[in-house]
């Protein structure tokens, strides 16, 4: 008597949802047990984390503005990555593309900001960031389609090339290096928030950054692009089987190049949003969105609408744990990373039960 696994044909949506919710809850329970073991009341901690310290806080609108600053780059990067992942192009290079995008945006702000109106500067920053990131991404895609270079490993390597370029710019005092403050003796990134900063729409005291609206708009466009356009259809066919796509007369290479370029461009745009809101570069400008975005995209099953929900939740996790760490000193904000890991592991487990079912072997060779 034994067991074996077989693929499920379909799984009803409610069942899927139940599995996923159960997985997330299980991760929270595991985290709660850990908290309890440390002598922290898990309910108090979680309520602090999920409300992000906003309840009973007079400047809660400020906290929410800061939360959105975490959310926007993550959501946009995840949406961008999902485009490439849909074709099974493993763009692990989100970090590197984000970095090049932010460097390009900062360069535009510092060089052209003083002489151009702010709105024009912001548009140029976005375009420059998209171009820089897009080229960095499409370079790998070109090698992949031409020579079959392994894109997972190559994009991974290029992340670090970009990172050390950024650190080089941040730590090298020189006449040519306009990224740094001239007056400071120590190398410090120049602040350009006065030159170019994305405007906010004031709703009472709360300032809604225009990037938030743009991000949702782009999300909607990508959703339509994937679902209702010829390009979107081509992407899904290439993802299912490049051979089929080729047989159907699609130009697979062109589709891959186009889509990866678009994917990397959007990551560059996310970088421009980040830089244009922060007003200054930093060696930790990405805040790991290139990595977290991969996890978010996967957790969301590459579904654009779900990505927005999941990245909102993951942002709560990250932003909330920092807030909670100020109350619960013994719980480090790295708790969020652990929790995020645990959630993904359990969701991957749930995924297995959605894709497969376990069948008991029967005698006589029949199932």
């Amino acid at each position: 008597m034994g067991f074996h696994i077989v693929k499920r044909d379909t799984c009803p949506l409610w069942k899927k949802a139940c599995f996923y919710v159960a997985a997330v809850l299980a991760a929270l329970v595991v985290g709660g047990i850990l908290l309890f073991a440390m002598g922290v009341n898990p309910f108090a901690y979680y309520s602090r984390m999920f409300t992000m310290g906003m309840v009973g806080n007079k400047i809660a609108y400020k906290a929410f503005e800061n939360y959105l600053k975490v959310f926007v780059p993550l959501a946009l990067t995840s949406v961008a990555l999902s485009l490439a992942f849909k074709m099974r192009f493993w763009n692990i290079g989100g970090e590197g593309q984000f970095i090049l995008g932010s460097v390009a945006a900062a360069a535009v702000a510092l060089k052209l900001g003083p002489s151009l109106p702010s709105a024009v500067t912001l548009v140029l920053m976005c375009l420059a960031a998209m171009l820089a990131a897009g080229l960095y991404g499409v370079f790998v895609a070109a090698l992949k389609v031409r020579f079959g270079t392994n894109e997972t490993l190559l994009t991974l390597m290029l992340n670090y090339v970009a990172l050390y370029l950024l650190i080089f710019l941040g730590e090298t005092k020189a006449d040519w290096n306009f990224f740094l403050q001239e007056k400071s003796a120590r190398p410090v990134f120049e602040d350009f928030s006065a030159l170019a900063s994305f405007p906010r729409i004031m709703l009472g005291k709360f300032g809604l950054n225009i990037c938030v609206i743009l991000t949702f708009l782009i999300g909607a466009l990508v959703f339509v692009y994937l679902k209702y356009t010829k390009h979107g259809y081509e992407i899904s066919v290439v993802g299912d089987s490049a051979g089929t796509a080729h047989y159907a007369g699609m130009k697979v290479n062109a589709i891959v190049l186009r889509t990866v370029f678009l994917s990397a461009c959007l990551i560059g745009l996310a970088a421009a949003f980040k830089v244009g809101t922060a007003g200054v570069l930093s060696t930790a400008i990405t805040e790991d969105v290139g990595w977290t975005g991969i996890i978010v995209a996967w957790l969301s099953q590459l579904n654009t609408a779900v990505i927005f929900v999941v990245s909102a939740l993951i942002s709560v996790l990250h932003f909330g744990s920092v807030q909670a760490a100020s109350t619960f000193k013994q719980v480090d904000s790295s708790f969020a990373n652990m929790l995020q890991g645990a959630i993904l592991f359990l969701v991957l487990t749930a995924d297995f039960f959605i894709r497969f079912r376990i069948v008991r072997n029967q005698k006589g060779g029949k199932q």
């Binding site: 190559l154 390597m157 670090y160 050390y164 977290t292 995020q340 890991g341 993904l344």
Partner: protein
Amino acid sequence: MELNKLDVISTFIYNIILYNIPLLYGTVGEIVVEKSGSLNLGVEGIMAVGAIFGYIVGCYTNSLLVGIVTAFAMGALMGLLFAALTVSLQANQNITGLTLTTFGLGVYFFVGNAIKAVRWPVMGDYANIKNGFADLHIPFLSDIPVIGRGLFSHNILVYLGIIIAFAMWYYLNRTTPGLRLRAIGENPGSADSVGINIKRYKYLHICLGCGIMGIGGYYMGLNMSGSFNSACWINGYGWIAVALVIFANWNPAAAILGTFVFGFFNTLRVSGSSLAIAFPEVLGWLAKVPTQLYQALPFIITALVLFFSSISKRKGSGLPAALGLNYFREER
């Protein structure tokens, strides 16, 4: 003066080995994992978890051996998690590996800060750890001028790393289980058809490889004298190890050489200025090279290796053909 210059050279060689042996552990571990057909991008996190538990448990028990065993066991446990998700539950390897890194770094800081809040063990207080990690003096060999100190006066974990690398080379290339493992990495379907127990092989070797990475992490913690602050001990070495696997063409013995090549650049970053002072005419320019270039070089070199090996499609590439693909028996 002459003597001083020789000193600089011997210190340079010494540092290449001392600071970069963790890369060897990480690389050899990852080679064992990848030869089974699994691409594990969690090296950084696995090393971090091995490091923090190995260091703390090793100190509390005041035993280097317990530290090594703990680091191995914790690494293997992370491997078990990876294997359970990717081998049994058919989860995507890239995603699982990347999450293992996030998760592992989370565990590293969480555990580290929790211990620090109570009492952080200082390495100097534990004689057995401190002396166990001290350089060994080998009669005659250590006394050879220049290379004696450079090559033959290291701590025991350096030699252990080299031994593991050679042992894994022998195991993979000269034994039957090694041959079977490579067969799984190349073509799991064929391996399955001749009766190799794929699941058992994958589980065992993923755990073994990850355990080796864990020891590498422990080494890094010891080499930093266990001082815990906001930067992780592993500091990107896990990613360099992933790169080094490619550079070494999936060969554990070549990984030793690769470690020294990457280590050479790594060490130039630290010792470049002292070389420039000792040899102003020949190496004076070293002082002008930005340190970030040295840090980026391993990744640039690996990117070039990836590029050229894909152009030439050369035979004898060690890249396992089924790397990164999950094996599902009923989908052949």
